[in-house]
Subunit: 152 residues, 2 copies
């Protein structure tokens, strides 16, 4: 394996899959004594250009973000269309899905990981940036998400 594949080891986010984001986000808000951030839904496929295992997918997810110290905890409630979220939720049940890192040079990073037997699982665009989930499960025992925000 090549070394230092991401150029960072700062965990920016933990993503947790849930069946009911309204219920679980309220529990989180109460448990930690913070405001309920509400949820937002990922963009439709035409805007997000979502691809899962190399194919366009209409999958969307409701997301709720909690600031937990220096990182985000993200709750994710996926719809039924094919996605890493839905597949992982069906196979593993509710619980942690990924750890995320802010990177630069998405295309190069994805190619480097692929060359090291860690293939792209899913990718998409969001306002101001893009994400990629990488199948690092065999190596790291958790999925890695890459987040690249556009320079302002």
């Amino acid at each position: 394996m090549e070394k230092n594949l991401l150029g960072t080891n700062v965990i920016a986010q933990i993503g947790i899959l849930v069946h009911d984001i309204e219920k679980t986000s309220q529990v989180y808000a109460d448990f930690f004594g913070v405001e309920n951030p509400g949820w937002q839904i990922t963009d439709v496929v035409d805007k997000a250009q979502t691809e899962y295992r190399g194919k366009r997918t209409e999958a969307r997810a409701k997301l709720a973000f909690f600031k937990m110290g220096s990182l985000q905890l993200e709750l994710i409630e996926p719809d039924e269309h094919p996605s890493t979220w839905r597949e992982y939720l069906n196979e593993h049940g509710e619980g942690p899905h990924h750890i995320a890192f802010r990177i630069e040079g998405m295309k190069d990073k994805v190619m480097t990981l692929d060359r090291n037997q860690m293939p792209l699982l899913q990718k998409g665009e969001y306002t101001g940036g893009r994400y990629a989930y990488i199948d690092t499960f065999e190596q790291l025992k958790v999925i890695v998400e890459l987040l690249e925000n556009d320079k302002k």
Copy 2:
């Protein structure tokens, strides 16, 4: 549910269960381009006073700690004795097990959580402090660990 049960929402640690800590810690070191921190083993029951579901247990685990930004990523390879580590690994396979928070007043926090239907799963002592795993899975979709270090 009562509110703000821990008095903090700063995630200090993510714990990941693995079958082979030597192998996986070397993969982490290479992947992130950092030194392999090696592993250490938790104390024997007489010193750690380890209890799992209210009973003394001889369970021990090998631990490897990686600094990832402001938090620790902890790899955990448990032995075969009863523990939350072994139970969760047998049921869920390798992957994330807990998120941890540094707290003060362990006894009070554990009582508060228990009163809110989040019972103590496992506790023990380590040099300079103590830990408690709480069964928050139903509520938060992840186990919470409390860490209390003695004042220096």
